[in-house]
Amino acid sequence: MVCGGPGCGKTIFAIEFLVRGAELGEPGVFISFEESAHDLARNAASLGFDLERLVEQRLLAVDYVHLDPAEIEEAGGYSLDGLFVRLTHALDSVGAKRVAIDTLEVLFGTLQDDFVVRAETQRLFRFLKDRGITAVVTAEAGIDSLTRQGLEEYVSDCVVSLGQKVYDQSATRYLRIVKYRGSSHGTNEYPFLIDSGFSVVPATSFQLDYQVSEERVSSGISSLDGMLGGKGFYRASTIMVSGAAGSGKSIVAAHLANATCEQGDRCLLLAFEESSSQIVRNMRSVGLNLTKWLDQGLLQLRATRPSLYGLEMHLVTIHKAVSDFRPRTVILDPISSLLSGGSAYQVKNMLMRLFDWLKTQHVTALVTCLTPVSQEGTDIGISSLIDTWIEVRDLEVAGERNRALYLLKSRGMSHSNQVRELIISDNGVSLADVFFTGDGVLVGSAKSTELLRRSREEHERAADAARSERLLELRRETLEAQITAMRAEYATHAEEVQRRIRSTREAADAARLDQASVAQLRTDSGSRANSNGGRA
């Protein structure tokens, strides 16, 4: 039994049940109380199902049971054998294994004898069961009960409830298995989408059992790879680039896309804020040629407004896009804008499922997230889901804004703890070391100024040293000259002294000689002694 309110997809569920059955070679019968065979075929065609062809192939029989209460008068007891006759006939005509009845409750509105209708309904279900037929019976949802007429009492095997929830003007369809005998079924509400039939995405991943990869992928920015242990991200990891407006998140993301395509792999870029052509143009301005990859079919750009549809719809479309395109990298830019489609909790829930699923598909996911300037972290609170988290931050120093990039975390690899300056030029981006002074980091022209100042200082110091050296030399030369002069003076002096000593000695010798000669003279002549005595 499939129950739900109007417009929640009961009829489509029933149609798809039969169409898929026909694809498996199980013929089916559609008993319609609400739409004519023609209307059904037309509606089904909008989903890509060709009912008329199936009827021709004798894989499907459609019986439109039209009941007009105005035409019908009741007079006495009756049974619904006519319905059974028709059903039996339809079943036999195609050898049906499946039956869809949409919706039985019309009987309750048309026929007055509730008791008979209930008894006959019960007989109908038994009849189908006895024939080994799988039947999908649709029923309108009641106000307090699953179905308006309490039909679920008669259906014992499986009850599926369909519904629709509207959050902030976006509707989300969901499906819940209320009961399913003999099966351990999921009990949650599973969002689903109707595009070419039902697409159901499990609300939560039950297990964390995906295989991880040792393979590394380049981020497309070699210096960033350097920060990530020199090799880049792990394949199939989840990467987040967060930062304030204009900090260059999208550019970092586009580099990964470019790197993926350069490897010959496919990349899916889902943009929520910019159109495809705008992205292409903007990335060209930093030296990334995305057109090339678009032309080669390696890159797919999908730009949608986040408010276009609900979160679940986004999830399912991403699912579908990934399943169809089979990319190795998926980029979501930015996830923060998804908040317009749901609460932070819902967004987190959706992203968790998305990331988990992408991991099982071995797809590397990079998301960007707009965060307020002062905040490290996200509004959505998904940091725990992220494997590698890059923060790009604006630094306002000395009248200019510059970008600083650092790694908040990167699971399972050694990574740099350094803050680098993200330099965006016409030829792409690069990372440069930042300067630290006592006051903090220096980037941009402040860094250049600092560099200049330092080099000047260096220069001055060198000049100082040279000057000192020269002075020293001069002093040495001066002293040496003085020493030479003094030596010369000393030599002169010494010579003088020697000369004096010598002459003194000569004089003394001469005197001694004189005395000796005088003495000689005295001894030689007494008379002469008187005459020379005055001199001696």
Partner: protein, 123 residues
């Protein structure tokens, strides 16, 4: 075989058609859908015969269709309940389901009694 049919009881050509011919009056064309010879179906046929004889003597025909034999015919008149009496003529098409035990309902349902006030007084 037709001799055993309960639909035969009071009519000469029972299983397929009961009719009396009179060209000058409005003709009533009735069709009774049955599924086999269940008590309800037999009862319905008997009741119908009675009512017709009483109100439409000489200007009606009854066609009995057994869906067990002709299941495809159920679709044409959109039959789900058994027995179902369908007034094919005069238009508009009217359907009465049940064994027709409630005679008053049948008479009203088939518009057998003219709704004009003087006629009402006459009945």
């Amino acid at each position: 075989m037709n001799g055993d049919s309960p639909f035969r009881t009071k009519t000469p050509r029972p299983f397929s058609r009961v009719s009396t011919e009179d060209d000058n009056v409005e003709r009533w064309n009735l069709r009774l859908y049955v599924a086999g010879e269940t008590p309800k179906c037999v009862q319905a046929f008997q009741h119908l015969k009675q009512i017709c004889e009483q109100h439409l003597q000489g200007r009606y025909s009854i066609e009995v269709i057994d869906l067990l034999k002709n299941p495809t015919l159920a679709q044409g008149d959109q039959i789900i309940a058994i027995p179902t009496l369908v007034r094919k003529l005069p238009p508009p098409v009217k359907k009465i389901i049940g064994d027709l035990t409630n005679t008053e309902r049948v008479v009203v349902g088939l518009n057998l009694v003219p709704i004009k006030p003087e006629n009402r007084r006459a009945t």
